[in-house]
């Protein structure tokens, strides 16, 4: 509330004062969606200078290139002789299907644009309050900066920053980066930025059932301030989960298939989602599959498909994914796309794909250091004796000797290299302890792999000796459980009170 905190000395009333108070949060959320923009409608076919930007002034003389990401536009300014006013509905600019770029000929760009921009009457000009509400949001560069107002749990690599910026500025995108390059992270970061820019209220993320927990953890880690509703479980619980106030609704393909019914008021169809993300989008590669149809019928303003393998078997797979990758209004029918030159054109405009080899230089280098350690004195004695005795035993076997006997001796010697069975001396462990202490003092965590599990030569023996470092131990697990466990342990947000993680590779590791 306003208090009496101001006093103008020798006060006089200012004659020309206008006031605008628009940033009430609720109002902002309702009004943030920018759809109509004022433009100057040309009546002649002079070459157009088109640009996007934060202001009309900046937009005036820029080249056409920024139209690559038109949804980021605050203005599409078409400068020509006429000053007639008009307004443009941005969603009618299907740039993703017919991308305009700096390589396009100006006349083609002009024709395409004016055909696609459905000019409205000047009375539909966006109110100043809305324009300001949009313009005054924090810029994405600031939001994405590690020194910006949003805390980022991980500093994204440059290629990820590029990916996030593109996602933020595109209504439709097929993010097809190689596995391991952080598609999930990029999607969450972009979504977080859109929420903070008041351009997104409700997002739906559809993932394979096995990845729900991982997505939830990533969401909490990367966007902790967002409210998440995981739609999963019995139908009565789901009915509630669909209705809770949340920024993000996370569900599986199976659940979506069940909850998306013919009733247009069924929970997934009830609202037009500001964003729908399909993770592992190859799940909808079969055009005629029930789940594919349902995903494509979700009303949405933005559609992002994430997959490392957009084309698994045939071009039809890709066509099906591309049919989803487009905004869809309530009651509209999804567009059909068939393989061919037209699909290739759409695909070029929609896909962002980086391979590991492309971004290898941006990834942190893997350093392999082979450390040769001399055995401790007693350890060396034990090793030599075991070697001698072993060789004698092998010789005694004569012609009956088998490869298993040799491997058994090598295994025995390897065990002694870990720990001396007589004195428990271990030069390896001494060295490792020193390294771990350094790493831990620097705030790092470590994973230690060993072939042996037992408490004499293996992991359990290491754990006993380095108990004070609070180790976590995992034996061979299923691939999914192993990945989950590793994620929990290595994720700083999990606040695991442990500094290193022992991993046994024995058996079918």
């Amino acid at each position: 509330m306003k208090t009496n905190w101001l006093q103008e000395n020798n006060a006089e009333k200012a004659s020309k004062v206008r006031w605008l108070g628009i940033f009430n949060r609720r109002l902002l959320l309702e009004e943030h969606e920018l759809k109509y923009l004022t433009i100057h409608k040309p009546q002649c076919h002079e070459p157009l200078s088109l640009a996007t930007g934060r202001s009309a002034e900046a937009a005036t003389n820029l080249p056409i290139a920024p139209l690559d990401y038109p949804c980021d536009a605050l203005f599409i300014s078409a400068m020509a002789t006429s000053k007639e006013q008009g307004a443009v509905f941005l969603a009618d600019v299907p740039v993703s299907e017919e991308p305009l770029s700096k390589d396009s000929a100006p006349s083609a760009v002009e024709d395409q644009l004016w055909e696609k921009l459905k000019l409205k009457s000047g009375t539909q000009e966006i109110p100043l309050a809305r324009r300001l509400a949009y313009l005054l949001q924090p810029p994405k560069e600031l939001l994405l900066s590690p020194e910006g107002p949003l805390d980022w749990a991980r500093t994204p690599f440059p290629y990820q920053v590029e990916g996030i910026k593109i996602l933020v500025s595109r209504d439709a995108l097929l993010l097809a980066d190689d596995m391991g390059l952080g598609k999930t992270m990029q999607a969450i970061a972009a979504m977080r930025m859109l929420v903070h820019q008041r351009r997104l209220d409700h997002a739906l993320i559809v993932v394979p059932a096995g990845l729900i927990i991982q997505w939830r953890k990533e969401l909490r880690f990367l966007a902790p301030e967002l409210r998440i509703s995981t739609v999963h479980g019995p139908s009565e619980e789901r009915a509630y989960q669909w209705t809770v106030p949340a920024h993000v609704f996370l569900t599986s393909y199976e659940t979506l298939r069940g909850d998306f019914t013919v009733n247009p008021r069924s929970p997934p169809r009830r609202r037009t989602w500001d964003l729908v993300i399909l993770d592992e989008a190859q799940k909808i590669k079969n055009k005629d599959a029930d789940i594919s149809q349902k995903c494509k019928r979700l009303p949405r303003r933005r559609a992002w498909a994430l997959t490392g393998t957009p084309l698994e078997n045939s071009p039809d797979d890709l066509a099906s994914i591309l049919e989803f990758t487009k905004p869809l209004g309530q009651g509209e029918e999804p567009t059909r796309i068939v393989p061919g030159p037209r699909m290739q054109e759409i695909h070029r405009g929609l896909q962002l794909r980086r391979k590991k080899v492309d971004v290898l230089r941006e990834l942190p280098p893997k350093t392999v250091s082979i450390v040769l350690l001399p055995l401790a004195e007693k350890q060396r004695e034990t090793y030599n004796r075991a070697e001698k005795e072993g060789i004698i035993q092998l010789k005694e076997k004569g012609a009956l000797i088998r490869i298993e006997n040799v491997l058994e001796l090598i295994l025995r010697l390897k065990q002694i290299c870990n720990f001396c069975p007589r004195t428990s001396e271990s030069s390896k462990l001494d060295d490792m302890e020193a390294r771990l202490s350094t790493l831990i003092s620097e705030g790092h965590r470590a994973i230690v792999f060993s072939q042996f599990v037992d408490d004499r030569y293996g992991i359990l023996a290491i754990m006993r000796r380095l108990k004070y470092l609070k180790p976590l131990f995992s034996q061979v697990l299923s691939m999914h459980k192993r990945r989950t466990r590793l994620f929990i342990c290595l994720n700083p947000a999990q606040n695991i009170n442990s500094y290193y993680f022992l991993y046994a590779l024995a058996g079918k590791g």
Binding site: K2, K16, R18, W19, I22, L136, Q137, P149, A246
Partner: protein, 179 residues
């Protein structure tokens, strides 16, 4: 329906910081008071413009002082929310604006680039930021006391890179309003 963020209560407690932006235009001056929260999100935007007498009888410095005073007073009196801190650019608002012409019960900070020569009075307290965004700060009457909400808000603004960026947004808003 608006969905509140999980950390909204903390942000609400910190309150708002106001950025006073004043520009010269052809026939006078225009200004905006831009309020943001600790996350840089816009909360209020108040703007005004005044025409100045175009006569040789007025000295340029006097006109500037008169105009900035009128604009600042108008904006502050009309802004519906009371900010916790006020920032302005030293090149736009002289020290006399808050030391003599207008009295506010809120810490005011004039911001200037680290290397710029800036005139300031003995009533102001000069500080320098140690962050990557190197700036000189001139506080009136004094910087916020350690432990206060104003101090927390200021720390948040400094650590979020929001010391000078909102002035750019305020300028964009003015251009939009008066284009």
């Amino acid at each position: 329906m608006s969905i509140p963020f999980r950390d909204d209560e903390e942000l609400e407690e910190l309150g708002a910081a106001a950025y006073l932006k004043i520009e010269i235009e052809a026939s006078g001056y225009r200004g905006a008071l831009f309020l943001i929260n600790g996350r840089g999100e816009p909360m209020e935007y108040t703007y005004t413009r005044i025409e100045i007498p175009n006569t040789f009888l007025w000295r340029k410095a006097d006109i500037h002082r008169y105009a900035t005073r009128k604009i600042a007073a108008s904006l502050f009196s009309l802004c519906p929310e009371t900010p916790k801190l006020i920032f302005c650019l030293a090149e736009e608002a002289g020290s006399e604006l808050f030391c003599q012409d207008i009295s506010v019960s809120i810490p005011v900070c004039r911001v200037a680039p680290a290397t710029s020569p800036v005139s300031f009075t003995s009533n102001e307290v000069r500080e320098e930021t140690n962050t990557s965004e190197r700036k000189q700060l001139f506080w009136f009457p004094a910087p916020p006391a350690e432990g206060s909400i104003e101090y927390s808000l200021f720390q948040r603004i400094i650590s979020s890179g929001l010391l000078s960026e909102p002035f750019e947004r305020a300028e964009i808003g003015l251009r939009e309003v008066y284009k």
